[in-house]
């Protein structure tokens, strides 16, 4: 078999990087008065190209490049496609909602694309140092994007909170990586997987696992590492929230799958109970807190914490069923969540003067399209059949029951009953009659432009496909799961396998 040129292994990342640099350079060379909006289309075009490149990577043999640091496999392609799709939706969403006179539009688009580079790289990296670099690329872009609305007090606050807590969490991850290196003498994930069983009860390995879990669970905003989420979501522009509540989380979940299932599969009995507890904690804390929220974005922030919990329930599943269920849930959650934030972006506008649940009252009367879509995505978040949310929960809890965690499934499903209360509050508010005064206060009917329309259509179609014909996506997720379960045997490029240190 001919060796695959290394560059093909990171083709989507390359395309995204070129796009980002191009957007930045064009932005810098345009005269100040010119509209920056076309740059968004450039970015969207590049992202679409990257998405196709990821799909094309399926034709490559499974393997690694650049001295066993980057993998291409059905697993990476699954998450690449997901992330590129989400970035595309976020770009389309921003195109119609960013104010025309904003001077920093170019930077905004470039940052989103650079973030995508990091996220894609994170899902493909099989070398812990590259993992760290990818995570930083993606995080730093998101920190800046979170503070994009500098004119409001909440914008910079969100960015600083996110940055401080995020760097702290990355510190944990880095420390975990260092300990893993200390225990095994390598940072290559396959090799660690090879060596770890011999030292599985060694304190260093356990500490490495624990610290890395803290770092990753922070990124997916699982309780008790979730406190940053509501503040950051509230302060960031909604299109950015649509992105950062989905794409970086998808990447972080991919990393979590890699760490627990590929790197430390033999420590199954250690991390399963841990994730069990965190799953229950996340969904319960998320849902209970969301019940009391009046601000829609804060409510959805807590909802995303709860969804991280449902997703973690899949990790109680055995082997490939758990991995496939978690991957599927990531996709289903991403589709409906990006959809609902898209609706909220349009409904409450860029400056978000009316962010409360009560402000959405009568939305279906003001704009039947937005009102119906809001209800549709909420119904999916509740987990009603024939929407993606249902099959996400279904696979996740099937995996849990299959792994023997019946109680986790019961707690999870009762939690989804609890969650229905606040989703429904918003949905029913949108369906409710508004008084004449409220109709006057609500201002002009929100308009749906072409780009936003396309973004909404993507999200609706994805949510419906995942709910009605999930087989294709599940098959892709399973193909990815098999790769994680049985990592390629030969990997070492430099020197013999280092023997584990004496305990």
């Amino acid at each position: 078999m001919n060796p695959v040129p290394d560059i093909f292994r990171i083709l989507p990342e390359m395309i995204l990087t070129v796009t980002g640099v191009a957007v930045m350079l064009i932005d810098a060379s345009l005269p100040p008065g010119w509209a920056r909006r076309p740059l968004g289309w450039v970015a969207a075009f590049g992202t679409t190209l990257a998405l196709w490149a990821s799909l094309w990577q399926l034709s490559l043999p499974v393997g690694t490049g650049f001295y066993s640091t980057v993998e291409t496999s059905p697993f990476t392609v699954f998450f690449h496609v997901l992330i590129c799709g989400l970035v595309l939706v976020a770009l389309l969403l921003s195109l119609d909602t960013l104010p025309e006179d904003s001077h920093h539009q170019g930077e905004f688009y470039a940052l989103i694309v650079f973030g995508a580079v990091g996220m894609c790289l994170l899902t493909g990296a099989v070398e812990l140092l590259l993992v760290f670099i990818a995570l930083e690329i993606s995080s730093i872009s998101t920190y800046v994007l979170a503070g994009y609305r500098k004119d409001t007090p909440r914008g910079p606050e969100a960015a600083i909170k996110y940055f401080l807590l995020g760097s702290f969490a990355t510190g944990f991850l880095l420390y975990g990586i260092a300990l893993a290196f200390g225990a095994t003498g390598t940072t290559q994930i396959y090799e660690i997987a090879h060596l770890a069983p011999a030292a599985e009860n060694h304190g260093l390995v356990l500490a490495a696992l624990a610290l890395m879990l803290v770092g990753i669970l922070f990124k997916v905003s699982a309780a008790p590492f979730h406190v940053w989420t509501p503040d950051v979501y509230e302060g960031s522009p909604t299109p950015v929230v649509a992105l950062m509540s989905t794409a970086p989380k998808a990447a972080a979940f991919a990393l979590l799958l890699r760490v627990v299932y590929e790197m430390f599969p033999t420590l199954h009995s250690t991390w399963t109970p841990l994730l069990w507890v965190i799953a229950v904690l996340s969904m319960t804390v998320g849902n209970l807190a969301a019940l009391r929220q009046e601000n829609v974005k804060r409510m959805l922030a807590y909802s995303s914490i709860a969804h991280a919990g449902y997703l973690l329930a899949a990790f109680a599943g055995l082997g490939s069923s758990g991995i496939a269920a978690a991957s599927f849930y990531t996709a289903a959650y991403a589709a409906m969540n990006v959809g609902i934030f898209a609706v909220i972006t349009v409904a409450s506008g860029y400056d978000e003067k009316r962010p409360m649940v009560s402000d959405f009252r009568g939305l279906i009367y003001r704009s039947p399209l937005l009102g119906s879509l809001l209800i549709f995505f909420l119904v999916s978040l509740v987990g009603i059949p024939f929407t993606g949310g249902f099959f996400g929960k279904f696979y996740s809890f099937t995996a849990a029951v299959g792994g023997g965690a019946v109680w986790l499934a019961i707690i999870g499903l009762l939690n989804s009953g609890l969650a229905a209360a606040y989703y429904l509050r918003l949905a029913l508010a949108a369906a409710q009659h508004q008084t004449a005064k409220e109709a006057k206060d609500a201002g002009p009917t929100p308009q749906v432009g072409i780009a936003v329309g396309a973004a909404l259509a993507f999200a609706v179609v994805a949510t419906l496909i995942l709910g009605i014909k999930p087989s294709e996506v599940l098959r892709a997720a399973e193909a990815g799961a098999h790769v994680l379960e049985a990592p390629p045997a030969q990997t070492t490029v430099y020197g013999p396998v280092i023997s584990p240190p004496a305990p």
């Binding site: 119904v379 009953g417 429904l424 599940l474």
Partner: protein
Amino acid sequence: MNEINQSILTLILLVPLAGAVLVALVPDRFKLPNWIALLTALVTFGLTLHLPAHFLLGHGGFQFEVDRPWIENPAINYHIGVDGLSLWLVVLTGLLAPIGVVASWNAIKERRKVFYSLFLVQQTAMFGVFISLDLMVYYGFWELSLVPMAILIAMYGRKDGPKAAMKFFLFTFVPSAPLLVALLWLYIQTGSFDFTTLQILIAHGSFPAGAMYWVALAFIFAFAVKVPVFPLHGWVADTFSEAPVALAMVVAGKLGLYSMLRFHIGLFPEQARAVAPWMIGLAVIGILYGACLALVQRDFWRLMAFAALSHLSLITLAIYGMTLTGWDGAVYQILSHGVVDGVLFLLLGVLYDQYATSQINAYGGLAAKLPRTATLFVIGALAMIGLPMLSGFVGEFLILSSTFTGVSKGWTIAAALGVILGAAYMLWLVQRLFYGPESQLATSKPPHDLRFGQMAVLWPLAVLMLVMGLAPSLWLASIQTGVRPPQPRIPNPSLQPALSITSLGEAQR
């Protein structure tokens, strides 16, 4: 013909859905949404009539069956079919759809597109519940049926729609969580969601008895809330007083009762027999409690809600009496209750639209002004009470006689007391609404008696009630094939020969 038989059930599912999409697309002008919805409902009803016309009476088991893989992992099949148990329930659902459209014709003035398209989605969901033979597909439609209902209650509620909608949704959604876990557990144990496969596996397989007990309990809990069975009826009064008439007439009863018969007793006969005494006790409490509360209501929607609780509890009693005659009576009574409730709700909706109040006190002496409304209401009320020769009698008689012979005399007497109370509150309601001195309300407004469209719906229904009372064997013949499956569920040979209402007396002798 064979091809039609193959696709008829799929068509019944898809036509309302297609209608819903069409309603969503057309402009809201010239009552276009109304006409499309009416046309869709009538076409669907016509399609459902194909089923009894081509139903083979001699055959046990399912007919018009379709079984195609839908999702391979987990193995969910698009498995649908009807037997004698579900056959007439599908037709009833089809029949109530045009009635619902007529009942909403003038009542719904705003956002008609949203209303009618959700109404039609609701139809699909209900058909799906009755014909699904794959438990996951069934669960899908079961859950789906909640959504349009909740949204429409919130949008068109009379006073506080969102609150009632929330109550309805949570009451019915939360119990489906244990149901889903139970389904997943069964799937993990057996590798199948298929109803017939599971039925065989559970009958012959050895499952841990304790776990099966909980699984069966999860099923019955979800169904009991939906019926509702006392003490899980908390949602019913608010829902009835807020829901648009077209939905109030279908919200309670048949979905839950059918599911009890098919999926609780059908899958877990052992466990069902174990909880039967409890269910009988709760049912009798429900009959009396509902009837007593109905007696003291001042609002006719709430009165109808508690009347429904009482009547549906009677059917629950028959189902958990675990006698074949009782099951015949139960299914028959579901049909009769569906038709009678449809008529009464439509008429109350007409009154409410005219006078904008549901306080019974405000009415009185309307019979002179609205003679057609009054006549039809009286017929409906008499059918509900169970006057011989009208539809309610047959079911009640079968239920009470089977309880008397098959369960216990004491419970029968208590249940019969509830039936008497039922006569009391219904007749009193008729008297307070239509007779007596003319109230201020009646004189204050020019009377609008029933329009042509309403009459065109109501008179056939009145005739139907009469036919159902006179010739029950038309329906019972096929119901019996559903209730008596090929493999006898009850080993008692004395109850095996087919009992129709005519041979019942002989059988008892």
